[in-house]
């Protein structure tokens, strides 16, 4: 995946419906549900062993930067708009995952090889969480990395832009995405109305190479 360098008005790309996005190539990532047997708690494994996990099957991603900030645009189908923690249901959510070092496993990292996630839910509004993790069940709401979010609803569709300065302001608790950098990226999407939260999600299954255009 390429983070395309574009020349735009500052923060124009924050808007998911901005015309400028057409200049960034779109990639369709196939998503699969996380396996029930891989869930951390015995209760969750038992409760979800016969249930479908991963309601959302595909997410379309575009990535761009303007030399100052990086923007990721996600679009996925979810007919029901779940915005909040309510009786019987959870908010929809999406996240980007990056390894904080080259060895991190995609399954939320490991004790020696952490990962960094930019995690958004509608109830977090324009301030997504900067998470770090060292394995499943260890996610930590870490140092604020100044990530911004803007979302919009289309026809049964979520559109989301996650944006941040190219250089991490959160020290080691977030990735740098400087021009010329090569790292990896993965994406996860939760359908809150289907009871998805925590490790119950649709994810892009393997690390995808991410390169930031100079």
């Amino acid at each position: 995946m390429l983070v395309k360098r574009l020349t735009t008005a500052p923060r124009a790309l924050l808007d998911p419906d901005a015309a400028e996005w057409a200049a960034a190539p779109e990639e369709a990532l196939a998503l699969a549900g996380t396996p029930a047997e891989g869930q951390v708690s015995r209760y969750v494994r038992s409760a979800w062993k016969d249930r479908a996990i991963g309601a959302v099957k595909e997410v379309r991603v575009r990535a761009a930067h303007d030399g100052q900030s990086v923007f990721f645009r996600l679009e996925w189908q979810d007919a029901a708009e779940d915005r909040a923690h309510v009786e019987g249901s959870f908010p929809d959510a999406a996240a980007l995952l990056f390894p904080l070092d080259g060895e991190a496993p995609i399954s939320m990292g490991s004790s020696d090889h952490p990962v960094n996630a930019w995690y958004w839910r509608p109830d977090l509004e324009e301030t997504p969480q900067n998470l770090t993790a060292r394995g499943r069940g260890t996610v930590k709401n870490d140092v604020d990395a100044g990530i911004l979010a803007r979302s919009a609803r289309g026809d049964g569709v979520w559109k989301l832009v996650l944006a941040r300065a190219l250089r991490s302001a959160a020290g080691g608790a977030a990735v740098d995405l400087l021009p010329g950098a090569k790292t990896s990226i993965a994406v996860a999407v939760w359908d809150g109305g289907a009871g998805e939260r925590a490790g119950l999600k649709a994810f892009s299954q393997s690390w995808r190479e991410l390169s930031v255009e100079t």
Partner: protein
Amino acid sequence: MAEQATQPRQIAMVFDLNKCIGCQTCSVACKVLWSRNEGQDYQWWCTVNTLPGKGSPKDWETMGGGYENGEPKVGLAPTRSQFGGGWQFNYDEVFYGGKGREVPLHVVGEEPTWGPNWDEDQGAGEYPNAYYFYMPRLCNHCTHPACAEACPRGAMYKRKEDGIVLRDEERCRGYRFCAEACPYKKIYFNYARKVSQHCILCFPRIEQGVAPACARQCPGRLAFVGYMDDPAGPIHKLVNEWKVALPLHPEYGTEPNVFYVPPVGAALINPDGSVAEGTDRIPADYLESLFGPEVHAALATLKGEMAKTRAGGKSDVMDTLIVYHWESLFGPFTRDPATIQWVSEVG
């Protein structure tokens, strides 16, 4: 602060259901102390329900959770409306708006369909043999807490020094698996703060030698508090020695640490109005469905001890259950909370 014990210890409670009058003082004592904050309007960590009845949350015994044959059983997280409560009232109108003589106090907004003691005093049976009793319920601080095992983040945990099950609200990310897994449905999701909450056995009071608020406020003197391993304490005697205090729904597999002395109840009344001595108005099989088959021996012991004292004899069991002096309820937790200078923390 209590010193870290080298051996894990367990604080337990016993409620004597022969003495509970359903006054709800315990429910209110807890409510006033712990659950008046944002998102806690519907939370009653201690509830007293009339049995037979649907309880709180409504039909909680059908909501699953716990264990079956050692395996976790799928459960439902009860909804706010199944718990009921948290109603808004027209206080402004009645108390401050000068309309106190025209308008009754009433619920504002959605019509309630259930509450923490909705079916109070309904019970079962037909006159003159209708029957019911009251059961206070709170978190059981189980030895095998299904909630703690269900949480993938370890936000629910059981502490070694006294076995109290607590949550780390900073670690909780609002997944609600704990609420699904608890078979007693005593975990309340705070929709405003997006964390799960439940009875904490008044641990800040326990740490200062003060009994939990529900127990200390109980005018019926029916709530015992103590360590399971204290041979001189009432808990050990009632649960392990005399076996008159039993866990609720032991088949849920979590080994609760709140126990109940089952209600002996009255005898049946014959059609001619005479008392059918030796019979039980509360059906034994109903009590067995709550407490398991051990309830029959417990009831027999209680009846035997009651007969002993009626005949003028002495009974340690009855002396313990009568509670001539309130301190005997609380083991080491008899300190007066008014003697503590609480320092409130900012933030």
